[in-house]
């Protein structure tokens, strides 16, 4: 019993409906399975975040699996210092950004295996969003504050693809974090996005086997 110390402890219960929040060891934000509210651990206490889920696509052929994403409203203007074709394209591209998404689950080497959040930020799919009680989704392992920084750089990188951002005066405002639950098809070794058809190896997701076991346990 050496090195005994007393860490701060939080009971993982929804502050609104008192339902137990499902959690794997690295989770920092959770979606209540009962009322659908989202909670994030910030400085040792639970803070509520707006919670949104995407409705299942019509005619789904495979079983659906919801994954957590942080989403932010984005307002960006990019004024070119020199009026060139590239900088004008960048200005138009910047004006189109309304929202950015960042995967809130841990992926092993996301740049290599694929990041759905970046794909959604580039071309937002046409999906139906809902609030309130909805599907169960695993917890988020990436804090909202870090995701906000990533979202900012996603948008900057997209503008930079059109023209060097050093040639633009960029003003960007990123809104507060919202926890989204977005479905994808669970097809064994891969997860497939119903809208973009992009695929993600399940082996690249940390704690995925534990999440899947938890879901199977609940279904049983």
């Amino acid at each position: 019993m050496r090195n005994v110390s007393q860490p701060r402890v939080i009971a993982l219960r929804c502050q609104a409906c008192r339902a137990e929040l499902p959690a794997t060891p690295n989770d920092v934000a959770f979606r209540c399975p009962q009322c659908g509210r989202a909670w994030e651990i910030v400085a040792g206490s639970l803070e509520e975040r707006p919670s949104i889920f995407v409705a299942a696509p019509s005619g789904a052929k495979h079983s659906l699996f919801y994954l957590p994403y942080w989403s932010f409203t984005v307002s960006v203007t990019a004024e070119p210092r020199k009026r060139e074709e590239k900088t004008l394209t960048a200005r138009d591209r910047a004006a189109k950004f309304e929202r950015a998404w960042v995967s809130a689950f841990s992926i092993n080497r996301p740049t290599y295996v694929g990041e759905f959040g970046l794909v959604y930020t580039r071309v937002p799919p046409k999906w139906e969003t809902r609030t309130g009680h909805g599907p169960e989704a695993p917890g988020a392992t990436i804090p909202a504050a870090d995701s906000k920084k990533i979202a900012r750089h996603y948008v900057l990188a997209e503008i930079d693809r059109a023209a060097d951002i050093g040639e633009l005066d960029i003003k960007m405002e990123i809104g507060d974090a919202e926890l989204w639950a977005i479905p994808c098809y669970d097809i064994g070794e891969q997860l497939r996005c119903p809208w973009t058809r992009g695929e993600l190896m399940t082996g690249a997701l940390d704690d995925f086997s534990e999440i899947r076991r938890g879901r199977n346990r609940l279904e049983a």
């Binding site: 019993m1 050496r2 090195n3 005994v4 110390s5 007393q6 860490p7 701060r8 402890v9 939080i10 009971a11 993982l12 219960r13 137990e20 929040l21 959690a23 794997t24 060891p25 690295n26 989770d27 651990i41 040792g44 841990s106 092993n108 080497r109 996301p110 740049t111 290599y112 392992t141 990436i142 804090p143 870090d146 995701s147 920084k149 990533i150 900012r152 750089h153 996603y154 900057l156 990188a157 930079d160 060097d164 951002i165 050093g166 082996g203 690249a204 940390d206 704690d207 086997s209």
Partner: protein, 322 residues
Amino acid sequence: MNELKLHALTCPQCGAPGVVREGTRITKCERCGALLCLSEVSTPRYEALANMTAAQAAHSARVWLDQQRRVGMFGRPELVLIPFHEVSGRRVGVFERRVPERIRVHRRVYDPQSGGTKIESDFTYKEKEDTKVMVSDVQQMTPAARTPWDLKMFDPRAARSVARLGAFDLVEAQRRSTVYAAEQSASAVAERRFGEKEGTELVAASRRTIYFPFWSIPVETGEGSYEVVLEAITGKIIAWRMPQPYPSGSLKWAALAVPGALILGHGLNGLFFGGSVIDPMLAAGIGLAATFVALLQARHPDWALRSWPGPETIPRLERDSA
């Protein structure tokens, strides 16, 4: 670092006292069953689950030994867990850099055929300022313990990508395996490797200690004690230890080549110039044979004390089809 560190806690819901092991972040209250989350926690520890049983490991080692044309008696395979610190996250930032820009230039040059001038185009490079937006992954796997064998042949990132991770329980792990102690903290590794760099920062960083499983199999042969070490996830042989130091075997045969060459020389001298003490044909035959055997054997040196297998010597993992 392998000592059992415990944290005392109090359930905020029912007030019941509890104790959790170091590295635990989520636990259940034993009285009210509430799910509890520890806000300040040390690096979480995981175990990469072994895909190979002891029998499969022994079979792989036997195949390898057969390939070496050696016969040996296998001892009991021992599961060894070795800690690796994994530091991962995403590096984001905006920074200035200078990049080469290719520019096409046109020059007017003298054309001897027409007697006039013609225009030639060429490329030239000049540096320009570029603002780079960086969003990249970072991942570092560092062995956290010293092992008796070298881990150069083990690729932790490759093993990590196929391994299933489970919760690491030190007490339970020590019952069935030898667990190596981590000699440095993951935080120290992270700070050293991924400290602040100009214009960029590490976000969504996670630190974890992953215990990778290895099978260590002792092999007794007529020449001495061997040890074969297999990675228990993909079944590759990553190291072996041999009883004989590297140079002696070759030196032994090289030393035999010297008298062989002398006898050969003596025989040839007798054949061509006469005056040999023994039968020149016999001397030449013995010398030729001894030199040939010595040179042949010297090309196949005995095993090093610690060595790594070549790709052709790594046996394929034979998994149960079931």
